[in-house]
């Protein structure tokens, strides 16, 4: 069983972090949220739409970025973004402007006619992020957006996440980067072996873990994942 009795409620505009060791079930939760995996029991609702019974309406609200996103290497950057924008319902008169603005903000204007296959990993990640947000989703689901990126690109991506959250986009973020989680996430869920071990803001997690009030999130995380309680504590 990949997940066991996972139940979460995320408010509109909230930035919600998912932390857990490798294999804990973070990616599985995110894939279920965006409709790639079907839950064996339970429901997932985005607003008033159920992702299982009403997937097309629910998916209009979502922008999803998987871990290691693969792109159409045979398309140019512009073609790729045009294609994604079109299938996600971005209006024709808005699409070109959005693409231009996004490429400019990520410093990729010179790469608009370059084949995606010729881009570096960092550039591809930026293109994938642009594709995720072209249709102005109200919910962003980001799976390890900073993994294996160079420091400069990590800064760009962190800034982008920050800008999205400032705009009030609900963001669900799975990450190993505790600094990102601590900086951006209002609440964090810690997952281990498919179960939610603890949920809450950093302060409440510190209390749950019985650590000092200035304890690093890393220490809180380690303490909580060592202790496997019956019921997840929620704040």
């Amino acid at each position: 069983m990949a997940l066991d009795n996972v139940s979460l409620k995320i408010a509109s505009g909230e930035v919600f972090g998912l932390l857990g060791p490798n294999g804990a079930g973070k990616s599985t939760i995110l894939k279920i949220m965006v409709g790639i995996l079907r839950p064996t029991t339970g429901t997932i609702r985005l607003g008033e739409h159920d992702i299982v019974t009403d997937p097309e309406k629910a998916k209009k609200l979502i922008g999803y970025l998987p871990e290691n996103p693969s792109l159409y290497t045979g398309l140019t950057t512009l073609e790729f973004l045009q294609f994604v924008g079109k299938i996600r319902g971005v209006a024709d008169d808005l699409l070109d402007q959005k693409i231009s603005d996004s490429l400019k903000s990520f410093g990729l204007e010179e790469k608009r006619n370059s084949l995606v296959g010729s881009l570096s990993k960092g550039m591809k990640q930026k293109v994938a992020l642009i594709a995720t947000s072209l249709h102005s989703p109200s919910v962003l689901v980001l799976d390890e957006p900073l993994t294996a990126l160079d420091p400069k690109t990590r800064v760009s991506v962190k800034d982008w996440i920050g800008n999205q959250t400032k705009r009030g986009v609900t963001t669900i973020l799975s990450t190993h980067d505790l600094d990102v989680a601590q900086t951006h996430a209002g609440r964090i869920a810690i997952i281990d072996h498919g179960k939610i071990v603890a949920v809450g803001d950093v302060e409440s997690l510190r209390r749950l873990a019985n650590t000092a009030s200035d304890a690093r999130l890393e220490d809180v995380f380690l303490r909580l994942t060592e202790e496997k309680g019956e019921e997840p504590a929620r704040h």
């Binding site: 790639i36 997937p55 998916k59 693969s70 045979g74 294609f83 370059s114």
Partner: protein, 522 residues
């Protein structure tokens, strides 16, 4: 090789082998009737026809060559790239091991039915069973030559060649295409004898001569020894060619289906996907066309079309079409199965995380991809069928019972190609590897490929068999009802055949869309 093989022999693989052997026996039954048809055509009324066997083997070679052009001649996974190619293993050893691995599968699948076939012939000629065993081994050597040639073709399609080598590569490709279709021209009455002489020294001709000699007990003599030597010379030649090509820049020569693994000659292009004023679905089709044109798929598609067209024209000129349209359709199915690679490989190029997180219907998406990938091939075949069909129909006007078969077989060719492509897309959706393989390990993917090949061929054959059966019973229907009913029968049966095809394609593509929806990998 031990580790590559290790994952294959699970219960599932053994079951697959058993099913495959059963399928092979059925295939031999169809193949033997086609062989007899060829034997009658080339004028020998008794016994085995060496030329007929040569033509049959040539058809197998065409299939393997098409696989080579589709890039399947030397399949390389991302795990090979990451772990094998970064190890101090000489590329020529990797080449040899990969071909040996494919040969192992071919031997396991191919040898039993081939041996059964030769044992039957040997019984007819009262020659000892070791002769049949040797004849079977000779045919297997021919199949290994085909696999090596397929691997060489895939190696030759790499992007890393210099301009001078590209010229030699293009000459090599044209030569392979011409020589692979040459033996089939022997079916045409009045063909110059020189062509027969050339076909005689090709691998299929030599394998047929040596095998038939063994089972018919006519071995011996210098000419026979020369045939055996030349066959082994072909084996050595294609092996040396492959080893030579894989000696340097092995990785650069191969297109590896991992993100960023493909090489493009020109990293900067003119962007062609303008979505303004277009529907989502026309953009999906345009995206496919752009991807096909920028990768090797356009060339593979063209070569499939050339093979199918060439075969149709030769078969029509041979006069065998009218007397045995079902054999024509069956052979077309075999060639088409190898050539449906363009449609079958759609999943490798797809990025499921984009589709599955987008508000699009997967069933509709798959259908639009089918339109984009299948339509060019079908449109290319339509004028060929018209060019071939008009003289055939006019030639059979005085024979109503044969005429109906011809009338049904002509659109039947397109129908079989269409259904085979849709079947290929379905099985790719269910079993094919998508853009990342962290869900499917490399060995599991190999197993999935074996299952997929077996199921795909069997299910495709089941799906197209009503089309073939309709042609098969047409002569009987005209005989029973009378030639006066020919127009009604022709219109009615063609309509039924087309309706069946449309329903089958719709069914297969819906299944493909559902299979993609259920996949949990990206």
């Amino acid at each position: 090789m031990r580790y590559w093989v290790k994952g294959r022999f699970t219960k599932g693989a053994i079951l697959g082998l058993v099913v495959g052997e059963a399928f092979s026996v059925v295939f031999i039954l169809f193949g033997s009737s086609t062989y007899l048809s060829f034997s009658n055509r080339v004028g020998l009324s008794t016994g085995l026809s060496e030329v007929a066997l040569s033509i049959l083997l040539a058809l197998f070679l065409v299939g393997l060559i098409q696989s080579g052009f589709n890039g399947s001649g030397l399949p390389v996974s991302s795990s090979d790239v990451d772990y094998v190619f970064t190890s101090p293993v000489p590329p020529r050893e990797v080449f040899a091991a990969k071909v040996l691995l494919n040969s192992l599968t071919t031997v396991l699948f191919g040898f039993p039915p081939i041996l059964v076939l030769y044992l039957r012939f040997s019984a007819y000629y009262h020659t000892p069973w070791p002769a049949a065993l040797l004849a079977g081994l000779v045919t297997l050597i021919f199949l290994v030559i085909g696999l090596l040639l397929s691997a060489d073709i895939t190696l030759s399609l790499g992007h890393g060649l210099g301009e001078r080598k590209k010229l030699w590569r293009n000459i090599f490709i044209v030569l392979v295409m011409v020589l692979s279709l040459l033996p089939i021209t022997l079916l045409i009455p009045g063909i110059p004898s020189g062509i027969g002489e050339v076909a005689r020294v090709l691998p299929n001709g030599l394998a047929a001569a040596v095998s038939v000699g063994l089972v018919s007990g006519t071995t011996g003599g210098l000419a026979y020894l020369a045939d055996v030597s030349l066959l082994f010379a072909w084996l050595g030649g294609v092996l040396i060619l492959g080893v030579r090509m894989s000696r340097q820049h092995f990785y650069d020569l191969l297109e590896v289906s991992v993100p960023g693994g493909e090489k493009f000659d020109k990293p900067n292009q003119v962007s062609r996907l303008d979505p303004r004023g277009k529907s989502i679905w026309s953009i999906v089709r345009l995206k496919e066309k752009i991807l096909i044109s920028r990768t090797r798929e356009a060339r593979a598609q063209f070569i499939s079309a050339v093979f199918l067209s060439g075969f149709m024209i030769i078969y029509a000129l041979s006069g065998s079409f009218s007397s045995s349209p079902t054999s024509f359709l069956f052979i077309l199915f075999i060639i088409g199965s190898f050539g449906s690679g363009t449609a079958s490989r759609w999943i490798e190029k797809e990025r499921l995380w984009i589709l599955k997180s987008s508000p699009v219907s997967m069933r509709r998406y798959v259908k639009e991809v089918y339109r984009a990938r299948g339509a060019p091939l079908l449109l290319y075949l339509v004028p060929v069928i018209v060019a071939v069909g008009v003289p055939l129909v006019l030639g059979e006007l005085s024979q109503p019972s044969l005429l109906l078969g011809v009338i049904l077989a002509l659109p039947g060719a397109l129908e079989i190609a269409s259904i085979t492509m849709a079947g290929g897309m379905f099985f790719a959706s269910k079993y094919g590897q998508s853009s990342t393989d962290d869900i499917l390990s490399s060995q599991q993917q190999e197993l999935a490929d074996i299952r997929r090949f077996l199921f795909q061929t069997i299910i495709n054959l089941v799906m197209v068999s009503p089309v073939i059966l309709l042609v098969f019973v047409s002569e009987t229907l005209v005989t029973i009802l009378g030639s006066g009913y020919l127009p009604i029968l022709a219109i009615g049966l063609v309509t039924v055949s087309i309706a069946f095809t449309v329903l089958s394609i719709n069914f297969l593509l819906n299944k493909a869309g559902d299979a993609v929806s259920k996949r949990e990998d990206l």
